[in-house]
């Protein structure tokens, strides 16, 4: 299905559940409460008891001084040897000069080390699925039905997922996490990868609406994953119907918003009933908040851009495997792209081998706003720097590759005032390494999220410690 679906959301779901579109059917047919609880028990049974310690939050947001470190601010020039002061969860100061330590500050000697802003992956479903296959009780990726504007990722993010710690110790400190599937998948949240509750993690709880843009798919899979070749005419009809359904709902939301405004101004007009379907859509159809629209192929991207323009949405393209073919249009319409396919196999057999490796470089040259994402649901978000590294091996300048996983995702998702670079006043999400942040050979030495120093431990380091000296 990944070869034919060409749909980043489907791909991601497939990656997570390995069952693609049939997940819901399978779940509803097969899964009884007993099976669910069995699956959860099975997950628990495999967790060594010592692993529960991994959820430690680290200390409170304290006062820290990092000295003598190379500082890659990303937004400004690098500082070869500088000082950063962290307090109240924020970056208080950054500079080349040696600063006096505030009283009670914890000093960190950064000699030989480099400080980077924490990386941001803008295309994940972090915390919404623990084990994709064989444990449906741990999967909260997709709601039933096609239109779910009320499915909010922030509600179901599991702060205690092993993926959270595993990801952050690699230097990814924030993600956009989103439901997937259907037509309106739900609402994405921007979260920090630290916190004991979704609210503590949240930076923007309702950051964007997620639309899985209707597309023509003639190939699907039956309940037993056998490929089913559909009828093209029917597929086009289905796509048109889905698009019309979406259009109608967004228009209704617009009208609903107007009705509410009218009633607020004048209580003599009819009072609109509460509507949980339409109310959450209002800020999105008014263009007050962005809409993440997933599309990969050129025709789908063009259709998505037309649709966004028609509905006056603020689109962010997700996926974008053929965005390079639409670069001038994306630039013209100023639509940013969250590229999730850098390491995917090229879509077509006759695509050049480096088509997707080069995608971001071509967008950068065309002046399109973009960022690089793993597009992974959670377990492999830690590979984000290597996706950017591959883009750089194929033409994206190194400074741009770094921005593509720090400042650019922050800008695209509208949190660049708080995240994405090392500047005074920003949230203190910092990664201190012994080498280039994007290199797989590099080690993370210190980690700060929200001004808290976090232990470099995860489910994986704890299992490592448990077994490395087994006799």
């Amino acid at each position: 299905m990944r070869n034919t679906g060409c749909d980043s959301l489907e791909r991601r779901r497939a990656r997570a559940t390995k069952k693609g579109k049939t997940l819901r059917a399978v779940v509803s047919c097969l899964v009884t409460c007993a099976l669910l609880s069995f699956a959860i028990a099975a997950v628990r049974a495999q967790q060594p008891s010592s692993v529960t310690a991994q959820q430690t939050m680290g200390g409170p947001p304290g006062v820290y001084v990092i000295r003598n470190a190379r500082i890659v601010t990303v937004s400004g020039p690098d500082i070869e040897s500088g000082t950063i002061i962290i307090s109240n969860g924020k970056i208080e100061s950054v500079g080349a000069a040696s600063a006096n330590a505030p009283a009670g500050a914890v000093e960190i000697d950064g000699r030989g080390l480099t400080v980077y802003p924490g990386m941001i992956d803008a295309g994940t479903s972090m915390g919404l699925v623990e084990v994709g296959s064989g444990a449906p009780g741990t999967v909260d990726l997709s709601e039933v039905g096609d239109l779910n504007p009320n499915a909010q990722a922030i509600v179901a993010v599991n702060p205690h997922s092993a993926h959270v710690n595993v990801t952050r110790v690699g230097g990814v400190t924030s993600v956009v996490t989103m439901p997937i599937g259907g037509i309106i998948s739900g609402q994405a949240a921007v979260i920090n990868l630290a916190g004991t509750s979704p609210r503590e993690m949240a930076i923007v709880p309702q950051a964007a609406l997620v639309i899985n843009f209707p597309r023509v798919t003639t190939r699907s899979f039956d309940a037993f994953f056998n490929p089913v070749q559909g009828n093209l005419t029917e597929a086009i009809t289905t796509r048109d119907r889905q698009l019309e359904q979406l259009r109608k709902l967004l228009r209704e939301a617009e009208t609903y918003g107007k009705a509410q405004d009218a009633y607020a101004r004048d209580k003599s007009v009819p009072r609109p009933d509460g509507n949980v379907m339409l109310a959450p859509l209002v800020p999105f159809v008014r263009g007050e908040r962005p809409v993440i629209i997933s599309a990969d192929r050129e025709t789908e991207i063009r259709a998505a851009l037309r649709f966004a323009e028609e509905m006056r949405l603020r689109p962010i393209l997700l996926g974008g495997n053929e965005a390079w073919k639409v670069a001038s249009l994306l630039k013209e319409k100023n639509v940013p792209v969250i590229l999730t396919g850098t390491l995917d196999l090229p879509i077509r057999e006759d695509d050049f081998y480096d088509t997707l490796y080069e995608n971001s470089s071509k967008l950068q040259q065309a002046g399109v706003r973009f960022c690089i994402s793993t597009g992974d649901t959670g377990a492999h978000v830690r590979d984000l720097p290597f996706h950017a590294g591959m883009a750089s091996a194929f033409g994206l300048p190194r400074t741009e590759a770094l921005k593509a996983v720090t400042l650019y995702p922050a800008q695209i998702i509208g949190v660049a005032d708080r995240l994405g670079s090392i500047e005074p006043g920003k949230i203190a999400n910092l990664v201190i390494t012994d080498g280039d942040l994007l290199e797989a050979r590099t080690h993370v030495r210190y980690l700060f999220i929200g001004g808290r120093q976090l232990p470099l431990t995860s489910r994986h380091t704890e299992l490592y410690d448990q077994f490395k000296n087994r006799r």
Binding site: M1, R2, N3, T4, A14, R15, A16, K18, C29, L30, A39, A42, Q46, V131, G132, S133, G134, A135, A162, H163, A223, F224, F225, N226, P227, Q229, L345, P346, R348, E349, D350, F352, Y353, D354, G378, A379, H380, R382, D383, P385, F386, A388, G389, M390, S392, A393, F394, R398, L438, E439, A440, R441, R459, H460, L463, Y464, F467, K468, R470, R471
Partner: protein, 482 residues
């Protein structure tokens, strides 16, 4: 629909382009004939794998072999000379777990399918092979899927893309077979309501299936041994035992002539198979995936098996939930031969980065990391005398990188197999304008006229098997239709 036709035509174009490239190549080979197919790679940083890193070093490839490694080497006048100043040379990457170019991965209808062969379903035109060459991979262990406890026979190939199938086969590579333990052979994640459940459904049953098979194989072998002994004694009118194609490969395992490559996850099932191997007196050559290998590293080392693993793939199913990226480090420290495999047409293009991760996780040295994609898998496949390092006399399977292959910023410049170029970035770039032009012509061609403009309704092309992406056979099913 129009696209589909274009697609078909482009496919044929692509197919046509390759022999053309091969022709060009053979022309240059003819030119080289006088120089006996020589290539001199000059002034590179050479990662020999077997004896350290050599700076400013030349590598001479002649007649398909590495002829010399050293400084200021001389080549004949007809030799191709490549200035590799500032570049890195390493052996071709060996992927010990691949399903590339297999038109079918699983004969999953039975629990023991040792009678089927991957050799019968190889597609040498699979474009992902070219993409793998472009990532520096030269040798693949093509394994049957993991739908059954005892699966089909493997094939070891060199990626001689553009050549006939026969030229892919790695000459002299010891034969092997796929075994599988855990969730896949017990079909935990593949149950359907219309298909009957297949035995086994538990790890107990998986053990029993393997034990039962080897019990039969032992009797079968005894029958043949008795027959041959009687023949030797000169007895007349003997009736030979009936040949059993399912049991013959198992007899080869018992005789140490066929390598067992066993897919596994949990520590307990690893110990189970070691127990059966000890009981029947055979050796497991590699455990594949081996996600919980780190929990029983000592036992694996004692048995003498290698482990061919993912660098850091985890969490996609219950038995993968305890996988850790430190697996390689622990196994290596306990003395296990560890390789990193792809099990994916996608990942097979960047196994260098998978190796680089091992420096991050568990502080392996760069040399240890590189061994895990070269020398170690070569040993696991029994081809260590032929490939896996830059040593005089070994096959000239050599890759030139723009920088250190463990850096994310490096890419492959040229890939040699047996001294011939099978990927070259400059050649690839040079071909593109022609390919784009031909593609545009095809799109304008009459058969591609859209039906709306009077064109005929196109026939849907028979698609190839989708790229093998979901590592670990998550998609595999009995009937092998993904």
């Amino acid at each position: 629909m129009r696209k589909l036709i274009v697609f078909v035509l482009l496919l044929s174009l692509y197919g046509a382009a390759i022999p053309a490239a091969a022709q060009r190549q053979s022309a240059s080979q003819q030119r080289q004939a006088a120089g006996a197919q020589e290539t001199l790679i000059r002034n590179a940083t050479v990662l020999t794998i077997s004896h350290g890193t050599l700076q400013n070093t030349d590598v001479l490839l002649r007649n398909g072999k590495i002829a010399a490694v050293g400084q200021n080497l001389k080549a004949s006048a007809a030799a191709r000379v490549i200035d590799a100043t500032g570049k890195f040379v390493m052996p071709g990457i060996i992927d010990c777990h691949s399903h590339s170019m297999l038109d079918a991965v699983n004969e999953g209808s039975l629990s023991i399918t040792s009678m089927v062969r991957t050799r019968d379903v190889l597609n040498p035109t699979d474009v992902d092979l070219y993409r793998e060459l472009a990532g520096g991979t030269t040798t693949l262990n093509l394994l049957h899927g993991s739908a059954n406890a005892i699966g089909g026979l493997n094939t070891v190939v060199k990626i001689k893309y553009g050549r006939p199938m026969e030229e892919f086969i790695f000459p002299g590579a010891p034969p092997g077979i796929k075994f599988a333990l855990g969730e896949n052979p017990k079909r935990s994640n593949f149950q359907s309501q219309t298909q009957p459940r297949r035995y086994p459904a538990t790890r107990m049953g998986v053990e029993e299936v393997i034990r039962e098979a080897f019990t039969r194989a032992r009797d079968y072998k005894a029958g043949w041994d008795e027959y041959r002994a009687a023949q030797k004694r000169g007895e007349k009118n003997l009736i030979p035992p009936r040949r059993d194609l399912q049991l013959e490969p198992l007899v080869e395992i018992l005789e140490g002539k066929r390598f067992v490559h066993s897919h596994c996850y949990r520590a307990d099932e690893i110990l189970m198979l070691i127990g059966i191997a000890n009981e029947f007196g055979f050796k497991i050559r590699t455990f594949q995936h081996t996600l919980e290998g780190y929990k029983v590293a000592r036992e694996i080392a004692e048995h003498g098996a290698g482990a061919s693993i993912f660098a850091d793939f985890w969490g996609y199913k219950i038995e993968a939930y305890d996988a850790i990226p430190y697996n390689a480090a622990i196994l290596t420290r306990f003395g296990v031969n560890v390789s990193l495999n792809s099990d994916s047409d996608e990942r097979a293009r960047r196994l260098n980065i998978e190796a680089a991760k091992m420096v991050r996780y568990g502080d392996m040295t760069e040399e240890e990391a590189l061994k895990m994609i070269t020398m170690n898998p070569a040993w696991q496949l029994g081809i260590q005398d032929r490939v896996g390092s830059i040593d005089v006399g070994k096959d000239a399977d050599v890759v030139i990188w723009t920088g250190h292959p463990l850096s994310v910023y490096s890419r492959v410049e040229t890939t040699f197999i047996d001294g011939e170029i099978f990927f070259d970035r400059q050649q690839d770039l040079a071909r593109r304008p022609d390919i784009l032009r031909e593609r545009a012509e095809l799109e304008r061609a009459e058969p591609n006229r859209p039906p709306a403009q009077g064109g005929a309704s196109p026939e849907r092309p028979r698609g190839r098997r989708p790229a093998y992406l979901d590592a670990d056979d998550i998609w595999d099913r009995g009937n092998d239709q993904r």
